[in-house]
């Protein structure tokens, strides 16, 4: 059943990789790995979006797998026709330096430990952590167990604690895969969480390998895999790691656009941001703040044109999200305080102090390394020095602004939350920080001096 659960996603993954390839035709092995890991999440995302549309039209049919097979076959044909005879990939002649070998070897043990951790979490909690079965796997069950009446899954009679208003990225993917394999097996959400874990680590490594080099990619991966984010959190089947993946995908696509000026990458960036909104409500905030961030970053480089291509990629997922939120989903509880109470809460100084104290504490402990990974990165920046490439400046401004505004948005949500503030912070803050940690690692290691250059003995 595990193999079948992996196979059922393969047409979607191929579709994602081919969409990336068609939008960004660059060649070479370093580019290939980025395409592979960008395509992985994009494939899962497009499948979820399309299944939502499919279910609206043909809720009593079971043919969505064939839609994915047809789509992947069509895209494969298009890619082959475009490639014609000169297949762009030739086997690479890799001659890594001694330093590169040492750094890359340093990734192996943390990667093995993360994989073992994930397998243990899956074996001991096959239904996932609390939020996973309460929201995402519950939503999948509501859709799968009565397909013809699936719109009843968003009934306003459902207790708000189950968040029937949450976007359906994971729920739709799990539901259609259950339909395709013909049974409700926990292997499906487990495989899905594994794909996002692989995608997150893979995309971080591959993109830094392309933008900086294998040494820089290795250090970032050692930091990522040593935290609990991949092995523990990723395997828990919650939506925070998939959301972090889509934030990272957006950041990577923007950075690669700045390097190559391929506008297809802006379409990809927009699509990734839209998929973030389809994954969690925090993703909708990301969509909102990414627009001014891009405008400011490209202010001197035709910002409207940049935004135009970005919005083109954003359009389809955003239409689905808005359609779901506007027509089907019950109201969100987080914004239920009402205007007067929200204003009172914003003006309450004690709430600001509580949030700031908690943000500070979390920054200094995040990652479970005792002193916190973020202070370690500060020391790293002091010792290795910052050396941002001038040609990547718009990317750094866009990503830095987007991450800062996103953190500010989380601050604002805590200010107006209808729940007990301390409970809400204790329950969610570390996961919010983890959502930003992966794209921040990418940002950080594109700004700090390349490790191979720094350690080159003169």
């Amino acid at each position: 059943m595990t193999l079948l659960s992996i196979l059922v996603f393969s047409p979607s993954l191929l579709t994602g990789i081919l969409i990336v390839h068609l939008l960004w035709p660059a060649g070479g092995w370093k580019v290939f790995w980025v395409k592979l890991f960008l395509g992985l999440g994009l494939g899962l995302g497009q499948a979820s979006l399309l299944d939502f549309v499919y279910m609206l039209l043909f809720s009593s049919e079971n043919g969505f797998l064939f839609v994915q097979l047809a789509l992947s076959a069509g895209l494969l044909t298009a890619a082959l026709v475009r490639a014609r005879k000169d297949f762009p990939l030739a086997l690479p002649r890799i001659q890594p330096s001694r330093l590169q070998i040492i750094l890359m070897a340093g990734v192996i043990l943390p990667a093995v430990l993360s994989a073992l951790t994930a397998v243990n979490v899956w074996a001991r909690e096959p239904h996932g952590a609390w939020d996973a079965w309460m929201m995402y796997n519950r939503a999948a069950r509501f859709i799968y167990r009565d397909q013809a009446g699936w719109l009843g899954s968003f009934s306003r009679q459902m207790d708000p604690i189950f968040h029937a208003d949450y976007p359906l990225q994971l729920g739709m993917d799990v539901a259609w895969a259950w339909q395709a394999v013909g049974q409700e097996t926990q292997r499906v959400p487990i495989v899905l969480s594994g794909l996002f874990m692989l995608g997150c680590a893979g995309l971080l490594g591959a993109s830094l390998n392309l933008v900086q080099g294998p040494g820089q990619a290795s250090i970032a991966l050692i930091l990522l895999l040593g935290s609990a984010l991949i092995g523990n959190e990723g395997a828990s089947q919650r939506a925070d790691l998939p959301l972090a993946y889509f934030f990272l995908g957006t950041a990577v696509s923007i950075c690669l656009y700045v390097r190559s000026k391929e506008r297809g990458l802006l379409i990809l960036a927009g699509f990734m941001a839209g998929l973030a909104a389809w994954t969690k409500n925090e993703g909708s905030l990301f969509v909102l703040i990414s627009l001014p961030a891009l405008f400011i970053a490209f202010f001197r480089q035709q910002p409207w044109r940049v935004l135009g291509w970005y919005v083109l990629g954003l359009a389809f997922p955003l239409i689905v999200v808005l359609g779901f939120k506007g027509l089907l989903a019950p109201p969100s509880d987080v914004l239920s305080s009402g205007l007067n109470r929200s204003i009172q809460q914003v003006l309450d100084l004690s709430r600001h102090l509580t949030i700031l104290r908690s943000f500070g504490a979390d920054v200094f402990t995040f990652g479970g390394w005792g002193i916190g990974i973020l202070p370690i990165l500060l020391v790293y920046a002091l010792i290795f020095k910052l050396a941002p490439a001038p040609d990547l400046r718009p990317a750094h401004v866009a990503i830095g602004l987007a991450l800062s505004l996103q953190a500010l948005g989380y601050y604002g949500i805590y200010l107006i939350t209808p729940y007990d503030l301390q409970w809400h912070i204790d329950f969610s803050l570390s996961r919010l920080v983890s959502q930003l940690y992966v794209p921040f690692l990418f940002f950080f290691f594109t700004v700090v001096t390349d490790v191979e250059r720094a350690l080159a003995v003169k």
Partner: protein
């Protein structure tokens, strides 16, 4: 070799060792979650299998009451919330609403709470007793 180079190498070595050390800690933490082959969610699902078979519809709304809904019965507030969410997950796509207003209600009551409840609601429900302190209640026509 400059001091900066020494510091850089020491920091990289420290990060690598810390990553492995905390990777092991993360693995140990994962191994401390429950036990293999008997996760509580799966056990909870088995408990509710008979309820789903007895309900006359596949999707709809039923009530849900527990010890906390019975005046005078003892209950643990933390358990109550956890059991409610687990039961909703198990019963999907049936929607559970707190209280006994719908035609059908699932009662998760210990024997003492059930005694108190049945004395207070005599003649209003048809009671179908199930295993493990579960009762399916069907409201009788007035």
């Amino acid at each position: 070799m400059t001091i900066r180079l020494v510091l850089q190498r020491a920091l990289l070595a420290g990060i690598s060792v810390a990553s492995i050390y905390f990777g092991v800690q993360n693995l140990r933490r994962a191994m401390a979650i429950g036990s293999l082959g008997s996760d509580p969610v799966t056990q909870w699902e088995l408990r509710f299998q008979p309820v789903k078979k007895l309900l006359p519809f596949k999707r709809g709304v039923i009530g849900y009451i527990t010890n906390s809904d019975v005046p005078g019965a003892h209950y643990d507030a933390n358990n109550e919330q956890g059991e409610y969410t687990l039961t909703q997950y198990t019963m999907a796509p049936i929607i559970l609403v707190r209280g006994d207003q719908p035609d059908w209600t699932l009662a998760n009551l210990n024997s003492k709470a059930f005694q108190i409840w049945s004395q207070a609601n005599r003649g209003q429900f048809r009671v179908i007793p199930l295993n493990d302190n579960l009762y399916l209640l069907h409201r009788l026509a007035p």
